[in-house]
């Protein structure tokens, strides 16, 4: 499945990186976060376990807020509010 970015609603975007291995999920997350406005939300969907730590560390470093994290059967969804 190819990477996909969509607008879910006003100020909320989704990035689906399922099927992608490192470093694609974290690189795409970084790139989308650079494009969206401050205060907007990005929901990242991925299934590469090691990307979870990288995305978390990247957001902490940049000051973005990951306000929800779920893992259902290896499918991760991180909701990130851009700083």
């Amino acid at each position: 499945m190819a990477m996909k970015v969509d607008k879910k609603e006003e100020g909320v975007y989704t990035l689906d990186c399922q099927g992608y291995v490192c470093p694609h999920p974290q690189i795409y997350t970084k790139k989308v976060l650079e494009k969206i406005k401050s205060g907007n939300v990005l929901e990242v969907v991925f299934d590469n376990p090691s990307s979870s730590e990288s995305i978390s560390a990247m957001c902490v470093k940049a000051g973005h807020d990951i306000f929800e994290k779920t893992n259902t059967g290896g499918k991760y969804v991180f909701s990130i509010r851009k700083k």
């Binding site: 406005k37 730590e53 990288s54 990247m58 902490v60 470093k61 940049a62």
Partner: protein, 474 residues
């Protein structure tokens, strides 16, 4: 925390039972199989540790350059230091099976090729093994690519012979290697016997005038000077360029505040990678313990190499002309991957026992009896158990894009591994931890390769992202 499903628990138990049955049944058939089972269970431990710690060298350097995250490189460095403590102890007791590698610029070049490959592939050689255990099809493709490339690269001559400097050919032919080896034909043969073997073999202990096995040599030369000091320097560079600025994000943080704040910040960076460091500590202890166990088994059976074990098991197929097979006695990844494809190619009619790698050093035993193959398969199994028990196991089919990158990246890692006489584990991690300067040279190249790989991958993903974002009003 999500509970582990019954299905996952059953699969995990099934894997453990399978490996247990293999050990019990083979041991009851012939006690020599315990030698292979020892490799198997250490491989299983390595797999669990790697998956738990997300222990991936590609991730370490790539995430640093790609997204500015130093977490994994810090974890890997801490793990290397912890492993070095264990290695120093093993060396000082005189039972270490580690041998330094020739030291020269070839290690840097090998690391560079390997580093680019691991970024494209999405994982290093050991990382791809544990990710295969997570059900990752891309990682499996990477392993296939590494294996096939190595097995072919070590035997290919033809037009590649024209790229061999005459001095290498002359030097290789003058080594007096057995007649069964076609040393004058094959790029890798002439590279090894004509160049690499002419380079100095040393250790930090020896450079300081100590014997490796002496207390000062093992703990001061190899551990403190060879590992702790360079690792600390590398971590300080990482802190200054990648972690220091992020302190401004922390409550009450900032880049000011003097040396005291920097020491606090540096310590904070070190303890942010507990998971990887813990995995590294267990890996280090397990590697050291494996050296003890394998040496103990060799003494018990009165052998020096697993080739003799295989002969006693009635299998002399694929032994090198010295009667040996690859038997490192500690954690290793890529050589056994080359061997199983080498074995397959030979079964298909490829005459590949006239090269140094297979014919003179490692052999190509039946994979079902290859101790190092038992270790790698169990490593995948151990990683699978850990992934299942943390709800992280998921079968993932590779997309065409990732399959392409996996094949290219795997091929580069295969070539890099053979040029450097090892991968990120055998060429860097184990070597550095044992005070071999060649390990740092490989690491230097690997960091450079990761930087170049990230540049290329950034260009690739930027193009894709632009196409994807064009329909959004951002």
């Amino acid at each position: 925390m999500e509970t582990v499903s019954r299905k996952n628990q059953t699969w995990a138990l099934g894997i453990v039972l399978f490996f247990s049955l293999v050990s019990i049944i083979t041991y009851s058939y012939n006690e020599y199989y315990i030698y292979l089972s020892a490799y198997l269970w250490f491989g299983f431990i390595y797999g669990m540790c790697l998956q738990y710690g997300r222990f991936c060298f590609a991730s370490a350097f790539r995430d640093l350059f790609a997204v500015g995250v130093p977490r994994m490189v810090v974890g890997i460095m801490i793990a290397t230091v912890l492993f070095a403590f264990v290695s120093a102890f093993v060396t000082a007791t005189g039972i270490s099976t580690f041998h330094s590698s020739p030291t020269s610029i070839h290690s840097v070049i090998a690391g560079l090729v390997f580093g680019v490959g691991m970024v494209f592939a999405g994982g290093c050689a050991s990382g791809s093994l544990y990710k295969t255990g997570e059900g990752n099809g891309v990682a499996f493709l990477v392993i296939l690519s590494i294996s096939i490339t190595q097995a072919m690269f070590v035997d290919v001559g033809g037009w590649l012979n024209k790229l061999v400097p005459a001095s290498w050919t002359e030097s290789a032919l003058s080594k007096g290697l057995p007649e069964g080896l076609d040393v004058g034909n094959g790029w890798v043969d002439q590279y090894l016997a004509g160049y690499v073997w002419n380079q100095p073999v040393t250790s930090f202990a020896k450079m300081l005038g100590f014997e490796n096995e002496s207390f000062l040599g093992a703990y001061f030369g190899n551990l403190i000077v060879g590992v702790v000091v360079p690792a600390l320097l590398l971590l300080m560079v990482v802190y200054l360029f990648y972690a220091r600025s992020s302190r401004a994000m922390e409550p009450g943080g900032g880049t000011g505040g003097g040396i005291g704040e920097d020491i606090k910040g540096f310590w904070g960076m070190l303890i942010s990678s507990k998971r990887t460091a813990l995995a590294g500590l267990i890996l280090g202890v397990a590697c050291g313990l494996q050296m003890f166990v394998m040496e103990g088994l060799r003494i018990k059976f009165g052998v020096r190499n697993a080739g003799e074990i295989l002969q006693r098991l009635g299998s002399d197929y694929g032994l090198s002309m010295r009667g040996t097979v690859f038997d490192p006695g500690y954690w290793y990844v890529t050589t056994q991957e080359a061997q199983w494809v080498g074995w397959l190619l030979q079964k298909l009619g490829w005459k590949n026992m006239d090269n140094i790698f297979f014919g003179y050093i490692n052999g190509i035993p039946n994979p079902a009896l290859n101790p190092a193959d038992w270790m790698s398969l169990a490593l995948i199994g151990g990683a699978a158990v850990m992934a299942l028990m943390s709800n992280e196991f998921k079968f993932k089919k590779p997309t065409r894009e990732l399959a392409f990158l996996a094949v290219i990246g795997g091929a580069l890692m295969g070539v890099g591994s053979r040029l450097g006489l090892g991968c990120n584990v055998g060429g860097f991690f184990v070597r550095v931890a044992n005070g071999d300067p060649a390990g740092w040279l490989f690491g230097l190249g690997m960091i450079g390769g990761a930087f170049l790989g990230v540049k290329a991958l950034n260009w690739w993903t930027e193009r894709k992202m632009e196409k994807e974002l064009i329909h959004l009003d951002l």
